[in-house]
């Protein structure tokens, strides 16, 4: 059964000169995608409220003083948006340079492709440029926090907090460039409120949070996604029946995710579904 929703008005906007019609409440990003325009995003999560912190999705809205984040700005009737204007491309290029020069984007999907596309040169800030480099935090057997790869997109905090898990084990601490994702007084996760649901790992866009299995295999050099199969099944623990996607390499489960389009769980799992596959 499909729940009926009240009919929504449609809004006409112009994306790069092309007329697009989207439902009221849709974002500029939705409109861009409807128009077939690819706009890069990092901090945008399909299951989360947009935080628009990374600013890699900025577009130029005609008449506006500053650029607008496509991921969160709502499309308004008559809006004329340019996704590839000189100004928008310049900001995107610089944002990519700033990110790539301060954090390790080696495991960020599509980062290398965008850096190439926008002609970003992260090395232009010199050898001495400050970075967030630090050793990975390995304080439990289930997942690893490698904050040298963190771009501070707030997605893990939102997933852990009131948007999904309501556990509130982590928050952004400090200010400015020194801000980090942290538990209270930087305590180890095992001492914190963390329930090891792994929903933060599910939403992390850069691989700063990763399964211990994946982290170890990457360190050994044996992680190879081309040799992995993905099988979606149903969790066998309780009656909720969450969907699990088992990532299998060499006949071993190496990672468990969950489909984000599931109308009940939206990609969220508990510790058992996410990590309790040892019995398989």
């Amino acid at each position: 059964m499909i729940p009926l929703q009240p009919p929504r008005r449609l809004v006409d906007v112009e994306i790069d000169g092309r007329a697009v019609r989207v439902p009221e409440g849709a974002t500029i990003l939705d409109a861009c995608r409807a128009a077939g325009q690819d706009v890069p995003t990092l901090c945008h999560g399909d299951t989360l409220t947009p935080k628009n912190a990374c600013r890699v999705c900025v577009v130029e809205v005609e008449g506006a003083r500053t650029l607008a984040p496509a991921c969160s700005r709502k499309a308004e009737p008559g809006m004329s948006v340019s996704t590839g204007s000189e100004r928008a491309r310049h900001s995107r290029k610089v944002v990519l340079e700033l990110l790539a020069s301060s954090a390790d984007l080696s495991t960020t999907p599509r980062a290398a492709e965008w850096i190439e596309e926008y002609g970003a040169r992260p090395d232009r800030f010199g050898e001495q440029a400050a970075t967030v480099e630090q050793p990975a935090k390995v304080d439990n057997d289930l997942y690893v926090r490698d904050y040298a790869k963190c771009i501070l997109c707030y997605k893990c905090v939102d997933a852990c907090g009131d948007q999904w898990q309501n556990t509130f084990a982590i928050a952004v601490a400090g200010r400015g460039f020194d801000a980090t994702i942290s538990t209270e007084f930087d305590a180890p996760l095992t001492d914190s409120a963390c329930v090891f649901c792994g929903n933060c790992v599910e939403v992390c866009p850069t691989g700063a949070l990763s399964f211990k299995t994946e982290f170890d295999m990457r360190a050994e050099g044996t992680w190879d996604e081309s040799r992995q199969t993905r099988t979606t099944t149903i969790c066998s623990y309780c009656g909720v029946g969450c969907n699990l996607t088992l990532h299998v390499q060499d006949n071993k489960i190496v990672k468990v995710t969950s489909p984000h389009d599931n109308p009940v769980t939206h990609g969220n799992l508990c510790v058992k579904g996410r990590f309790g596959y040892g019995y398989v």
């Binding site: 890699v56 400050a130 200010r175 400015g176 801000a179 409120a193």
Partner: protein, 600 residues
């Protein structure tokens, strides 16, 4: 909300500090002793997240720093997750999460003090008190620019105390005054040792002043003196006009915001008053932190009742029952005087359930900031009051629709609000004919301070009053977020400064002569923005760091590639940052490169 704590217990002193603010804990859930009743009934616990910042202040004021036990206890009392409270506490520079001495000296090293020898003061303080970090720390602008170079000592205790220091009395060698000045203890409960009887207004007592007429002339503690000098006439007129009439007067007067953005105040009030959603909130933005700005402090210290009356009028016009006065933590004198004024006004029926017998209910809650420039941003101030990290929200929605606690909110700067009094006293037309504006003159002048001029005067006229001490090389208008100008004949109006490629901003007029190390000043501006960036968006968080790095390289050796880099990063910060901080972080540096040829 289910909370998990580590095993850290508060000390008796920390517990007492929190209980003094919140009262004793009602249940075991809130950290009290477990009773029989706790086992029988489910206790109801109201999350009071908005008291988080006051509670952190309570502990920091009493003990000097916030331990894990104290933080946990605050979290239990307010039902706040410890990780989030840690994130909030670590956001503010006046809080320490590590042990430190009760007394900490904050030495201003910002623009106005720097132009008058703050570096020498810093060296002497370091020689006296050891390396920075424990007994003293370098501070962004303390808003004591008319007494530059300045410092502020905050001493934790019960009650906490403070002392304001000025090293200006040793011209030529401000550092030499350090040992003598530091010997003065903060014993006299903080009535400032420097600047007593010097309200920072060189024009004090001059006839024709509007906004500054009482400053330095009237006892700021006395409500009777305030009323005897015309106080509460404007509110009486407001009650005669009715809310819509007040808004009409403010619209007709053409008043625009004095905090820097110059948005028409009447339109803001009108939009808030029309919102069907209730309650409406009023927020007075007294988080004056733009380097070189001190007009709001002078107003609040010298004429606190005027701000209270003006807030009451604003609340009456826009339908607010509650107003928050958010004042920066570095203004202890102003906090004390305002607290006294609010209490007096309340006891005399000028605040409360029935203001002046007109059946209008309004009260003011004073909230102290804790060292974060960004909290002066109009939406960051909401997050700070609500007990979250002071990060700006994205707009839309604008505060008039969804502001404090998600309700329609009107946010106004102190000077903006105080302007409403003459509008109502004289009528919009008479006010608009001679609209007053305050300027904070500091740097290389003989008579620094807050000056009141009517719009239309030129920069030269203002400088003639303040008497520059050397050849004026440039003037920084609008503070760190403003721009350098060299043309002294530009009119000091919003349009005039805009045409000159500058901004009036918050009214900063920082005079630079040949003795000032301009490269050092630019580095300080870059350092300021890097320090004060909240860290939310990438262009500002990383861009301000890259800007500072490039300036360091440039001050050693000028390379064209670094100038290009500065420009490109600056443009991205201006275009793609969430809030005004990142958007303006490159302004002053750009103007110095282009107009003053600093790196030629």
């Amino acid at each position: 909300m289910d909370l998990r704590f580590r095993d850290a217990a508060p000390t008796e002193e920390e517990r007492a500090a929190v209980d003094a603010l919140l009262g004793p804990p009602a249940t075991a859930w809130e950290g009290g002793a477990r009773t029989e009743a706790d086992l029988r009934f489910a206790a109801r616990s109201e999350p009071r997240r908005d008291l988080l910042l006051p509670a952190l202040h309570a502990v920091n004021d009493r003990v000097g720093w916030i331990s894990e036990g104290a933080l946990d206890y605050i979290c239990r009392r307010l039902t706040v997750p410890p990780a989030e409270a840690y994130g909030v506490a670590s956001f503010y520079s006046l809080f320490s999460l590590k042990p430190r001495p009760a007394r900490v000296l904050h030495v201003c090293t910002d623009l106005a003090c720097r132009a008058r020898g703050a570096e020498e003061v810093r060296r002497r303080v370091e020689a006296e008190l050891g390396p920075a970090g424990l007994a003293w720390q370098a501070s962004p602008c303390l808003g004591m620019c008319e007494r530059a170079p300045a410092a502020l000592a905050l001493e934790a205790g019960d009650p906490p105390s403070f002392a304001e220091y000025s090293f200006a009395d040793a011209p030529g060698n401000p550092g030499s005054a350090v040992p003598g000045v530091l010997a003065v203890r903060a014993e006299d409960q903080g009535e400032s040792t420097a600047g007593r009887g010097r309200p920072g207004v060189p024009q004090a007592g001059q006839p024709g002043l509007v906004l500054l007429r009482r400053v330095g002339q009237v006892d700021p503690a006395s409500l009777d003196d305030y009323r005897a000098t015309g106080g509460y006439r404007a509110l009486r007129r407001a009650f005669d006009l009715g809310p819509a009439g007040v808004i009409r007067e403010v619209l007709d007067s053409g008043l625009v915001g004095r905090g820097g953005a110059a948005f028409p105040t009447g339109r803001k009030w009108d939009a808030t008053a029309r919102q069907p959603d209730h309650p409406h909130y009023l927020v007075c933005n007294a988080d004056e932190s733009e380097p070189g700005t001190f007009k709001d402090r002078v107003l609040m210290e010298g004429d606190p009742y005027a701000l209270i009356e003006a807030m009451t009028i604003a609340a009456y016009a826009t339908g607010c029952a509650k107003g928050y006065l958010y004042i920066r933590g570095e203004y202890p004198t102003a906090v004390r005087r305002l607290r006294h004024a609010i209490a007096t006004a309340r006891s005399r029926g000028f605040l409360g359930d029935d203001v002046m017998g007109h059946g209008f209910a309004f009260d003011i809650e004073l909230r102290r900031g804790a060292g974060a420039y960004i909290c002066g941003e109009e939406t960051a101030i909401f997050n700070s009051i609500e007990g979250y990290r002071g990060e700006p929200r994205s707009k839309p929605p604008f505060p008039v629709e969804k502001g404090l606690f998600g309700k329609p909110t009107v946010v106004n700067n102190v000077e903006t609000l105080v302007n409403v009094l003459p509008i109502l006293e004289r009528g919009a037309r008479a006010y608009a004919a001679a609209e007053p504006k305050l300027f904070c003159v500091s740097g290389c002048v003989a008579r620094p301070g807050v000056y009141e001029l009517t719009f239309g005067a030129t920069l030269r006229e203002l400088l003639d009053m303040a008497v520059p001490t050397g050849r004026v090389r440039a003037v920084l208008l609008g503070g760190a977020a403003g721009a350098f100008v060299t043309d002294l004949d530009i009119p000091l109006t919003f349009e005039g400064t805009r045409d000159a490629g500058a901004t009036l901003g918050s009214g900063v007029v920082l005079v630079i002569d040949d003795t000032v190390d301009l490269k050092g000043l630019l580095l300080r501006i870059a350092e300021f923005f890097r320090d004060e960036s909240c860290g939310q968006c990438v262009p500002c968080r990383v861009g301000t760091v890259r800007q500072e790095e490039a300036l360091h390289r440039l001050s050693r050796r000028v390379e064209d590639s670094d100038l290009v880099l500065l420009r490109e990063v600056g443009q991205a910060m201006r275009d793609a940052s969430i809030c005004g901080l990142g958007q303006t972080a490159w302004n002053a540096i750009e103007s110095a490169v282009d107009r003053l040829g600093v790196f030629k």
